[in-house]
Symmetry: C2
Subunit: 106 residues, 2 copies
């Protein structure tokens, strides 16, 4: 699979999509139930769900005529992995700058 980190961040860059995730953190929901409080069409939600699925934030499953959506961890873990991978490098660099800035910024 190998989640595309570009798309993972892009997925989080949309407020409606993050709202969907927040909503799902309260428990699984159907597509139309997700659409209701967000003021967009069911179609729009469907499109958002597709990108959230591709980026590992959501897993969906159709039972009868209703599609049930719930959180998945892969996308979230991808973000955390990116963060930890860069934390060390950046901290080193930022620390180095910090000591310089004591005089530089003054």
């Amino acid at each position: 699979m190998a989640l595309d980190i570009d798309r993972v961040f892009q997925a989080l860059g949309d407020p409606t999509r993050r709202a969907i995730l927040d909503r799902l953190s309260l428990g699984p929901q159907s597509v139309s139930k997700l659409a209701e409080p967000l003021g967009v069409t069911v179609t729009a939600i469907g499109q958002h769900l597709q990108v959230l699925e591709e980026t590992g934030f959501v897993r969906t499953q159709k039972a009868g005529r209703v599609r049930s959506c719930r959180l998945e961890s892969a996308g979230f873990r991808a973000v955390e992995q990116w963060a930890t991978e860069h934390r060390t490098t950046w901290e080193r660099r930022l620390d180095a700058l910090g000591s310089l800035l004591a005089e530089d910024d003054h």
Copy 2:
């Protein structure tokens, strides 16, 4: 200030922008030096730098005719804050699902 989290994630959603950050993690660089290995115009880099500055990933400073760019921590911290804020909620939810899935997935 209050960094817009939308824009923070959008900023990271572009590969050129992340390449700039990676480059800067090796040390401060001028605009043209950043452009060189990335195969885009200096103008394009300037535009990327503007969004990276607005989202707290980069700080720049013009000395004479050359603008020197270096990493800043605010944007990075915003991402980590978002992650920690959601980790607990999601973990609870995902754990709850996990126990259900033992049977659900079979």
